[in-house]
Symmetry: C2
Subunit: 237 residues, 2 copies
């Protein structure tokens, strides 16, 4: 049994304003919930339709299928939903590491996939412009496949970050140097632009290495998460 | 003004059964519609909220915002929607070309992104297992960014295809050879598995080269579209 107050609270967490107010976010499905717990994230409570759930927690509650549907952010619920406390760690930036800068990435699926891809390639830090979709958006959390618990993400003014930490900026643009001919020996920022209009002008002028993924076919552009992955694959971590 | 019959017909095209029955599918937004027309796809009709639409067609109809919302498959319509006739070309398979085989790719966003990525890398043919999401699904069409008009896609039994055309099969699995050490000189099939469980067993036994994208971090797996892109980038077209 889930109370009306709980339903209202969890549904509020689908909105960024309330996620920030309560410092909480939701994740769905046993696999992702289990991984986030293993990463040390603090669980507020868990709702599951399974009386023999693999999830072990003192705040677990068995609910009906209809009740879970009322709080799920998915078209069809995944059998369980957990409320987690947001991790608020200060990001320390060393001057010799790869950091991904995301300029106004707006699609939650792209954002989640980018976080997951960073986790695969060992990139541990992402800085998002304030025009990016919130990383605690339920669709981002699901697409990240629990990588949100392993990759540090913060929001900041990218221009200030680039100017403060004097690392090189590798910017993905459409008419730069073939990225296969670019040396990535010197660590720094990888800058990826918005799905529709690319990197904003005020940031484009700060790019050190203008790089391009060469096109062999006819598509006008690549999906932002795909472009990110192709570039991250070139880096030595 | 749009008629009730038109609304009913277009909404039916959101379902695969009716798309196949009528041999029609929908695409939304001026940019994608324009590109598909330029690719030679046959337009059945176009609905737009813009009286000065850039789309030129004898079957164009100006509708209200509310009317377009009634037929759009998107959360928020993109200003225009077109009904296209499906292209039914026989796919000719030469014995010396790259062909992408998709085994039960189910996410429409992944499918559309894969088609778009093929178009970028010059891969012109995709063969889908019957467990794949329909490529004329509105979400696939949107994510493909009109590449659906430039890449040939057909559905077939992948096992029969591999056995009939005796090309090598490069299969993306989790514990194969580092793909950076694999030669891709010999053209053939690139085989990509389902988002959750990878390549089905009956196909896995047919793989010639078992390849893996090396992991440097901690994510359990890569998104299927990302894995596809990373492999396609290695091929010479």
């Amino acid at each position: 049994m889930i109370s009306k107050i709980e339903i209202k609270h969890i549904n509020a967490l689908k909105v960024k304003k309330y996620r920030n107010k309560y410092s909480e976010f939701i994740a769905e499905g046993d696999k992702i919930i289990k991984e986030l717990i293993e990463e040390g994230l603090q669980v507020v409570n868990i709702f599951t339709i399974n009386e023999n759930s693999i999830l072990q927690n003192k705040n677990i509650k068995v609910v009906s299928d209809a009740e879970l549907s009322m709080i799920s952010a998915l078209t069809k619920h995944h059998g369980s939903l957990a409320v987690f406390r947001m991790q608020k760690k200060e990001m320390q930036i060393a001057n010799d590491e790869w950091i991904l800068l995301l300029d106004d990435i707006q699609d939650p699926g792209n954002m989640g996939t980018i976080i997951r891809t960073c986790d695969w390639f060992g990139i541990k830090k992402i800085i998002c412009s304030d025009g990016c979709v919130d990383v605690y958006n339920p669709k981002v959390v699901q697409a990240s496949m629990a990588s949100i618990g392993r990759v540090q993400v913060m929001e900041a003014d990218l221009k200030e970050i680039i100017q403060e930490y004097k690392m090189s900026v590798y910017g993905a643009i459409l008419n730069g140097k073939n990225y296969n001919e670019q040396s990535f020996k010197e660590k720094g920022f990888i800058l990826i632009g918005n799905e529709g209009h690319g990197i904003n002008n005020d940031l484009e002028t700060l790019i050190t290495y203008r790089i391009t993924i060469p096109k062999k076919g006819r598509a006008e552009s690549l999906n932002a998460a795909i472009a990110t992955a192709l570039i991250l694959d070139k880096l030595s971590i």
